[in-house]
Amino acid sequence: MSLVTPLSRVLGLGTAGGAGEHWWMQRVTSVALVLLGLWLAAALLALPDYSYLTVYGWVRRPLTSVLLILLVVTVAYHSYLGLQVVIEDYVTTKALKVAAVMGSAFAHWGLGVATIFAVLKIAFGPSA
C-alpha cells in the first residue's frame, strides 16, 4: 500500500514526462519574444548602416547588450521547445528521437552561450 495520493502519483508523468511545464515555458518565452522581437526589428531599422563600427558601437551600448542577451536566451529556449515538438512528431524511432532532441539541446546551448559570450566580449571590450 502506498501513502502517495493518486494525484501526486500522476503529476508530471504525462506522455512526455512534463508536458505542463513545456507548454507553460513556451507561452512565457512567446510573450517575452513579442517584446524582444519587436525591439530587435525596431533597433535594426534604426541603424544607419551595418558597417563594423556601427554594429560594434550598437552592441556595446549597455541597454543593447542586456536586451541582446535576453533575446538570445529566450530565442534559444523557445526554439529548443518548438524543435522538440517537431522532432517528437516526425521521428518515430525512439533512439533516434532521443538522440535528435539531445543533439538539438547541445546545438541550442552551444550557439546560445557562444553568442552571449560574443555580446559580452564586445560590451566589456575597448570602445571602437
Binding site: S30, V31, L33, V34, G37, Y52, V59, G82, T115
Partner: protein, 125 residues
C-alpha cells in the same frame, strides 16, 4: 506490423481551409526562424572577432544574393510573431469561433506581408 493503405492524416482529404495552411505555416516559419537565429548568432560572433572577422561574415550576409533569404526570414519573423499572438489569444479562449478564426487568419497574413515589405524596404534594400 500489418500495413493498411489508409490516409495518415485528414489533411489531404479536407477541403482547402486557411486555418490548416496557417497552422502548417506557423510550424514551417518557426523551423526557418531557428535557422535564422543561427545566422544572427554568427553575425554577432563575427562582430566580436574584430573588423576582419566581421568583414568575412559580411561577405556572405551583406552579399546582394543574401537579400533573398533575409527577406524570407523577415516574412517568417513577422508571420510567426503575428500568428503567435493569435495563438496566445486562443489560449485565453478568445476568438475561437469559426467566423473570427478565418478573419484573424487573413489579418495575420496581411499584417505579415505589409510588415515584411516595410522592413525590407528600409532595413534590407
Amino acid at each position: 506490423m500489418q500495413w493498411v493503405q489508409r490516409p495518415l492524416s485528414p489533411f489531404w482529404i479536407y477541403r482547402w481551409q486557411i486555418t490548416m495552411w496557417l497552422s502548417s505555416l506557423h510550424r514551417i516559419t518557426g523551423l526557418l526562424l531557428s535557422a535564422g537565429a543561427l545566422v544572427l548568432g554568427v553575425w554577432l560572433i563575427g562582430a566580436a572577432g574584430g573588423a576582419d572577422s566581421y568583414a568575412s561574415v559580411q561577405q556572405v550576409l551583406g552579399a546582394p544574393w543574401f537579400k533573398v533569404p533575409l527577406v524570407g526570414w523577415t516574412f517568417c519573423f513577422f508571420f510567426h510573431l503575428a500568428n503567435g499572438v493569435r495563438h496566445l489569444a486562443w489560449d485565453t479562449g478568445a476568438g475561437f469561433d469559426r467566423a473570427r478564426i478565418v478573419v484573424t487568419g487573413w489579418t495575420v497574413l496581411a499584417l505579415a506581408v505589409v510588415a515584411t515589405a516595410v522592413f525590407s524596404w528600409f532595413a534590407i534594400f
